[in-house]
Symmetry: C2
Subunit: 136 residues, 2 copies
DNA sequence: TAATATCCTACTAACCCTATAGGGTATTAG
DNA sequence: CTAATACCCTATAGGGTTAGTAGGATATTA
């Protein structure tokens, strides 16, 4: 299941990507437009900022803005920041690999081989989709 | 993330699929071979039975066995029984559809359109993979 | 009748997710 | 200089799910 955090995060990013200019947009504005709790959205945008996807400006006229052009933000990056690993099991994760404590031989593990296929397909989609693609 | 329940379930099913005969195999036997807690495995096999994937026999020489040939058990069925919906969000689920309370127009929702692609790719893999494929 | 093995429900401890609270800090306008 | 705006940051609470356990009931076989 996709977390609300990720869902809201993607919606907010898409909203920002749709803006004509890259001027800061306040949390309140995004919150209203996308029907997301202000406080919850605040924490989400903060993690997007800490992970180099958004920039911010404080004070009057401040808000959040994209650091890159929407076409240069692949969904792999967004998903990893918000949702964590793209793989369904740690033993097939590229960025967060972890060995299973059961399972002596990964190559012979049915779950392992099945989940590699799922991971590869998901990766293909996320890699080939940018924020720009989501604005249409 | 794939739940342990699903992971163990798939391993147990694969173990059963690898048997030459369709004679009952006891929980204890599967438990030892796959390093899964007996009690936990018990509940998993029970749900597989209740959902028509496994049959069982009580008493001495009893155990669980596949009701169909491995090649006739697609992973879509297994995943839905153990893990639930294949889709990452209810609004793109075929079997467990649910409308989002935010989001007035699904066709215009970025998350919706992205997750349909993920669902379609996962479905393709699960549909084209049977228990037999996992035994190799 | 004793041994084997599934059946079934309930329970608990741990963990994660969602959301909120409450104050701190930087910036801008007047 | 001051007030208003809006982000920054940490902590926490409540609810839900997951992983695993307990303990007895029931059916089958030898």
């Amino acid at each position: 299941m996709l977390s609300k955090k990720t869902k809201y995060g993607i919606k907010a990013l898409t909203f920002l990507a749709r803006q004509n200019s890259r001027k800061p947009v306040s949390i309140a504005t995004i919150s209203k437009s996308e029907t997301i709790s202000v406080k919850f959205l605040e924490t989400i945008l903060l993690t997007l900022k800490k992970n180099g996807i958004l920039g911010s400006k404080k004070g009057m006229g401040g808000g959040y803005y994209l650091l890159k052009e929407p076409k240069d933000v692949p969904m792999t990056t967004v998903m990893r920041v918000l949702e964590g690993p793209i793989a369904m099991v740690p033993c097939v994760s590229l960025n967060y690999y972890e060995k299973c404590n059961d399972c002596p031989d990964e190559d012979k593990c049915a779950v392992h081989r099945l989940m590699i296929q799922i991971r590869d397909n998901s990766l293909k989609v996320f890699r080939n989709t940018t924020l720009e693609d989501l604005t249409n």
